[in-house]
C-alpha cells in the first residue's frame, strides 16, 4: 500500500496519527509538550511557559517538569513505535490506527533522572532511544537539551512495561 500511496497523503496520514496519539493525553497539553516527526524518529518539544518555573530566583524550570518531559518523550516514542508497526503492516493496520485504535499506553516501571544543568526559561527538546525492546519490557534512554544539542540539561533511563494488545 505505502509503495503506491502519494507522498503527501502518506505524510498527512502519519502526522495525523501522531497528533492523535499525543493529543489524547491531557497532561501533554497541560505541560505544553508536542512532537515533531522525521520518519519514525520523534523530537519532543516543551514550549516554555512561566508556570513551568520551579525556582524563580535563578530562574529555572522545575526539576519535576524536566523529569516529566523526559518520561513523556520515552512513553510517546514507545507508543509511536507500537502504533507505527501496526499502521505500516497494511491497509487493515492503517485503518485501525486512523480510527484511534492505538495499543495500550506503556507504563513506567522505574526511571532514573540525572540533572546536568538548570533548565533555562525557554523551550526544551528531547529525544528517546529505545535501547532494548523486549516482549514485555523496554529499556529507554532519553536526553533533553535547550539551546545546544551537545549540552544536555538532563538525561534519564528507565524501564517501561509494554502491554501488548494484539
Amino acid at each position: 500500500m505505502s509503495g503506491f500511496e502519494p507522498v503527501h497523503l502518506l505524510k498527512a496520514r502519519r502526522d495525523e496519527a501522531l497528533a492523535r496519539l499525543v493529543d489524547r493525553v491531557p497532561y501533554h497539553a497541560f505541560l505544553g509538550v508536542s512532537f515533531q516527526r522525521l520518519g519514525d524518529e520523534l523530537t519532543g518539544r516543551l514550549t516554555y511557559d512561566d508556570m513551568l518555573i520551579g525556582n524563580p530566583a535563578i530562574p529555572a524550570l522545575h526539576g519535576g517538569v524536566t523529569g516529566a518531559f523526559l518520561e513523556i518523550t520515552a512513553i510517546v516514542q514507545l507508543a509511536w513505535d507500537a502504533a507505527w508497526e501496526i499502521m505500516e503492516s497494511g491497509p487493515d493496520g492503517a485503518a485501525r490506527i486512523a480510527a484511534g485504535g492505538f495499543p495500550p499506553t506503556p507504563k513506567t516501571v522505574d526511571v532514573t533522572i540525572d540533572y546536568l544543568r538548570s533548565g533555562k526559561p525557554r523551550d526544551a527538546y528531547a529525544r528517546a532511544q529505545v535501547t532494548k525492546r523486549g516482549r514485555r519490557v523496554a529499556n529507554v534512554r532519553v536526553e533533553a537539551w535547550q539551546d545546544e544539542r551537545a549540552r544536555p540539561i538532563a538525561i534519564a533511563h528507565g524501564h517501561y512495561l509494554l502491554r501488548d494488545a494484539r
Binding site: 519535576g64 518520561e71 526511571v111 540533572y115
Partner: protein, 149 residues
C-alpha cells in the same frame, strides 16, 4: 522539633509550577516533609483509565524531597536535584489526591540524601518510591562545629 510548615508553605506558594499543580505542604520539619497533590483531569496520562501521568508523581516526589531538605535542622538556603530514581509500583487511583512523604536521612556540606514514598488512599499501600541526591547551599554560619559533616 522545628516546625517549618508555615515557612515552607509560603516558599512553595512562590514556586509557579507547584502552584500550577496545586501542591500543598501537609507538614515539614526536621528533614521530613509531607506534600499533597489534588487530582485534576488536566493531569491525566492514560485516557483509557483516567490515571494521572507519572510525570505528576515525579514532580510531587521531587518537590517533596526538596522541601524535606529545606526543612532540615541546619536550614539550607537552597537545593537542586542532582538525581532522582523513581519506582512506580502501581497506578494512582483516579479521582483522589496523591500524598508523598520524604525524609532527608543524611546531609553533608554539599549533598543531601533523600528517600520518599507516594500513596493515594493508604500510606501502607504506596504507588511509588524514590531515592535522590540533592545539592545544597548552606548558610554561612559562625564556626560552631555543628551541622554539616
Amino acid at each position: 522539633m522545628t516546625d517549618g510548615t508555615g515557612l515552607l508553605t509560603r516558599m512553595l506558594q512562590g514556586l509557579p509550577h507547584a502552584r500550577a499543580l496545586g501542591l500543598s505542604v501537609v507538614s515539614a520539619g526536621d528533614g521530613v516533609a509531607v506534600l499533597s497533590a489534588p487530582y485534576d483531569p488536566r493531569l491525566v496520562g492514560d485516557p483509557e483509565t483516567g490515571v494521572i501521568h507519572g510525570g505528576v508523581v515525579t514532580t510531587l516526589l521531587d518537590t517533596c524531597c526538596g522541601v524535606a531538605v529545606l526543612s532540615a535542622g541546619n536550614r539550607p538556603l537552597s537545593t537542586a536535584t542532582l538525581d532522582l530514581r523513581i519506582d512506580y509500583m502501581r497506578p494512582a487511583r483516579p479521582g483522589i489526591a496523591v500524598t508523598a512523604r520524604a525524609e532527608c536521612h543524611r546531609m553533608t556540606r554539599s549533598v543531601a540524601f533523600v528517600r520518599a514514598t507516594a500513596w493515594d488512599a493508604d500510606e501502607d499501600d504506596p504507588l511509588a518510591s524514590a531515592a535522590g541526591a540533592f545539592m545544597v547551599e548552606l548558610a554561612a554560619r559562625p564556626a560552631e562545629g555543628e551541622g554539616a559533616a
